[in-house]
Amino acid sequence: MPSAPSKLYSDDVSLLVVTLDTNPFFWSTFSFPFSEFLSHVLAFLNSILLLSQLNQVVVIATGCNSCTYLYDSSSDKNHGSTTGSMPSLYSDLLHNLEVFLAGDQQLAKPRVNAAGGGAPPPSLLSGSLSMALCYIQRAFRSGPIHPQPRILCLQGSADGPEQYVAIMNSIFSAQHSTVPIDSCYIGSNNSAFLQQASYITGGIYYRPPHLDGLFQYFSTVFATDLHSRAFLRLPKSVGVDFRASCFCHKQTIDMGYVCSVCLSIFCEHHDKCSTCGSVFGQAQSNVPSSTDRKRKA
């Protein structure tokens, strides 16, 4: 028998954690300006808060070198009063964003300059995913009734292969806590990490074709709460890039060596597994096996 039943939460109350890609290297070279992108995102966040008094929104910025919480709708520190020109959400978020960007730039290590040209450094998606999951865990522990959490990744920069292990770990922990990870990817090629994330956790991966109508895509696809998703037609991912990255060089590989104890992947033969320390046996190179087959044939 339930004690003191209180129907405080209806089915569609949600906690939305948004990880916002603020990589300046990406945005400076991208065709769509960051300010316009931000205006669509802010309108979308405001509409989420509009839908229910109990909805919560948390925004985490994904920078090149650090991540931080930009905005938490349930915290008491929201000082910005609602002036006539914009809601308090906007002013708080923008203020925190400026502070963060300045700080992030200062943290930039000189190695970026040493690499010289080449691909822009990736954003720390693993860091922001971990922070999002920590916040959600705190929400889970706050009581028996809580809003249904989900994560939305707004990402533009390409995947950083060195973050493969960390991202996969956070994806599996999200899957374990049944938190769907939706991703809205606006970069040029599909992001393998985010596709895998959405596939494994049961979220939606979507790459909007026209960025002018971003708010419309947001409100159609990403504003649906978890309860309604059961009976709505939402975009399904067609092909997911499941290729793994090797643990030693962080390159995506198709064929490689797998440790039988901890399942870590290597592209070339090692004597010892770097993750679990188990010793491998003699290497069996590819060439003799193909000649064996030829002999047998």
Binding site: M1, S47, L51, P87, F215, A230
Partner: protein
Amino acid sequence: MPEVRIIAKNFMDMVASMPAMKLDKLYENGFICEAILRSLPPLGKKYVLQLLHIDVPVAAKLLEEWVLPDGYTKHRVAIDRLVQLRVFVEAVDRKNDKTYKLNPTFQKSLQQLLVHGGTLPREPMPSNITVRLPNLEDLEAYALQQWECFLLQLISSSLVEKPSNISSSLMKVFQRRLLSQRDKEAPKLTESGFQFLLMETNAQLWYIIREYISNSEERGVDAADLISFMLELSFHVIGEAYNINSLTDFQRSIIRDLADLGLVKLQQGRKESWFIPTKLATNLSVSLADSSSRKELINCDVYRVEYQLPNLIVGAITKESLYNAFENGITAEQIISFLQQNAHPRVADRTPTVPENVTDQIRLWESDLNRVEMTEAYYYDEFPSRVCKLVSEMYLKVHVTLPENGTVCYGKTRRKCTWWLRPGYIHTYESIYAAKSRSKMQRPYGMVHLHPANVLWKTRKQKFALSFAPWKGNRWKKQWGHTLGHYSLLV
């Protein structure tokens, strides 16, 4: 027991029932649009968001394509709700297909709200003027106390020490369905009154406000203004003081009534006076359940009071008190849920909150009243005389089986030509020979045509023989009439 329910109709239903023009005027206020949006079912909210920036009518079929087949009923419910509230405007396009479009006023207000944020027409007053501002706990206690006081006065005016300022005519309006007054007796709670008391605070608030608003027309107050003020009030911040001078005259007259109900607290400073919204006010547009303890109101009926201390009442739930409650129309489930909701916090942590022996006993006592079940039956009289004689000379146990649920009920007939029949299968046994005859009757429940010629009688104590013709088709039906059904007589 017939269940009389007070339908604490939701605020939004009342808003929906307003005429179109008034509704459009209401939608100019951004807060009302927000409150209405929040009251929609989840799919409805999604549709509004999706069509928020679309100016062209969207075909209904397109909306249906967004939904999987499982969710079709939810889709229909959402669309009906949206059309009922006039948020969606239905039209028919050139190809005679149904299209939907957002109400333009609603659309504009909501877009404004999204981009610019909503502003209340009044700002909280600076803290240097507002002295003696109550903190949140005090405010909540005040609101609860006012509400309890109001409820007490509603039920019986004699129990209240200081009556509130609500005019007696207004009280009468509230009491209309809750109390019944007989001429010389004190007013007594009706069944609906009991249901009202057992509802949650929020549901009760809705009921009172609904009565208040529907009565407002008679008092010459515009219902639309009243609703818009109430909804606006729900977006104020709890605990902040707002200047009374920022209210219009009309709103000022309402605010006193609201203070009596516990929705706001009025305070006076040296030069200015202000009002402070309480939690009851801000919950106006959200359906939240707030459990408050109602110690004194259910005073005589569910339990019998044993001791009464200043802060404690000890009562005993006895069979008589519960029978009394059941007679007044309260069900066991209501009592149990009332006990659960108003449990002391320390008891509420325990599972189950209410001990099983208590709940079981309450339910058992309720089922005591349901021991006799009445089912429809037909009463036949004045049979032709030979059959009468037949029946009257022996004890006939008439077994009637009801085809639907197979229960058997029977009645003895004795010396009277009446027997209780029900359209269905009727089997009659002669009691003493039932066991013996069972073995004989291998097709025991064949249909028998009970025609007097078929019956041979001996005396009561001996066997009697009955010859019967098996039932063929519907022939017998025509002779005895359809209502008798078919029956058999077994020996």
